[in-house]
């Protein structure tokens, strides 16, 4: 492999690691096109490499977020159930819809989420008194522990099914749908959301990556450099995240969502 390609893959991996650890986004929509267009990989090879980059970033960030209690592991496991079920369903029905319809739908959902993140301020439901229900959690905030009560759990689980379907049908949208969903609809503080999503995207990507690995579609050297870059990016993202307050984090998140929507629309243009 050319030294320039190695450096390029490390940089790409770092970008994926930062987006994954800072926002809880896998960023496949941004990285798969770069891997195919710039690095000349076949689409399936690019997806496989991207998934391994997502796993590396997720594992790296989670060693810190999970340990600190910033990721809500219980809630992550719960929402991952319907996400994974949705992904299985999506794979079954994906062939029944035209690609461009799916992509256009995704773009619309992502833009809607981005606008909601800008328009709606964060609203956390503080548990009353020393209430200790199943859905009362806390995470270490900047000024001590923050307690929050998760709202709309059933609705959130149902919508995660759709997020899972969308991500397996179009290869995008797991995090882009789930992060705004958890923050706006389920009223979970954005710092806990991004850390929880960082943890979840690794589990989601695992199912996909293991299939590509078994099918022999993983390019080991490409995957290796992207993974190393992604670890570096993940720790950089964790460090940056500590310095960002919730309001800024949500604003930057919206910017990334708009960029993602732009990439989706570009793809629609290519498909049509």
């Amino acid at each position: 492999m050319e030294p320039l390609t190695m450096v390029g893959l490390l940089v790409l991996g770092s970008g994926a690691g930062i987006i994954g650890s800072l926002f809880g986004l896998g960023g496949g929509i941004l990285f798969v096109p770069i891997l195919t267009v710039v690095f000349g990989l076949a689409p399936t090879e690019a997806v496989a490499v991207s998934l391994i980059g997502i796993i590396a970033g997720s594992v790296g960030a989670s060693t810190v977020y999970v340990d600190r209690g910033q990721s809500n592991v219980r809630l992550g496991l719960l929402l991952e159930i319907t996400t994974a079920a949705g992904a299985i369903l999506g794979a079954m029905v994906a062939t029944m819809l035209e690609d461009w319809i799916l992509l256009l739908l995704m773009a619309a959902i992502v833009i809607y989420s981005a606008v909601r993140m800008i328009v709606n301020p964060e609203r956390i439901v503080e548990p009353s008194g020393d209430a200790d229900g199943d859905m009362v959690f806390e995470y270490p905030g900047d000024d001590g522990p923050v307690r929050y009560e998760v709202q709309n759990v059933r609705g959130g689980m149902a919508l995660c099914t759709l997020a899972g379907m969308a991500s397996s049908m179009t290869g995008i949208g797991g995090g882009a749908i789930k992060v705004p969903l958890m923050n706006i609809y389920m009223h979970i503080p954005i710092k806990a959301v991004s850390a929880t999503s960082s943890y979840m995207i690794g589990i989601t990507a695992f199912s996909g990556a293991i299939t590509y690995l078994l099918a022999g579609q993983v390019l080991p050297d490409y995957a290796a450099f992207v993974a190393i870059g992604s670890f570096i990016g993940a720790f950089a993202g964790v460090a940056v995240s500590r310095r960002l307050n919730a309001r800024h984090l949500r604003r930057y998140f919206s910017v990334v969502l708009f960029a993602m929507a732009g990439m989706v629309l570009l793809q629609v243009g290519c498909v049509i």
Binding site: I52, I55, A56, S58, V59, G60, S62, T63, V64, V66, D67, R68, G69, S71, V73, R74, L77, L78, E80, I81, A84, A85, A87, I88, A91, D134, G202, I203, A205, F206, S207, A209, I210, T211, L213, L214, A215, V218, P220, D221, A223, A224, F225, A227, I228, F231
Partner: protein, 87 residues
């Protein structure tokens, strides 16, 4: 067994082992000494999130947190079904 600490510890082991094997594997591969270690490193890395879920399930079971342990076990079952269906 503390849920967060044990899950993070598993992820840390997976990450450290995976990175070490990937780096050594890349060196061996560039010296034309085969890519077995590289493949092993990538496999360890890919498996880490799932090993983390298994650890979470064990931590929840041993601490008697039955409802959340059930959630972890259902997730493990669904992920397994997904892999079998797509393989």
């Amino acid at each position: 067994m503390n849920l967060n600490r044990s899950t993070a510890a598993t992820l840390r082991v997976g990450m450290t082992l995976g990175v070490a094997m990937i780096v050594i594997g890349l060196v061996l591969d560039s010296l034309s000494m085969g890519d077995t270690v590289l493949w092993a490193g990538i496999t360890v890395l890919i498996a880490s999130p799932f090993l983390g879920v298994l650890t979470s399930a064990a931590a929840l079971l041993t601490s008697g947190d039955r409802r959340w342990a059930a959630v972890a076990l259902v997730l493990i079952a669904i992920i397994s079904v997904g892999i079998v269906l797509s393989a």
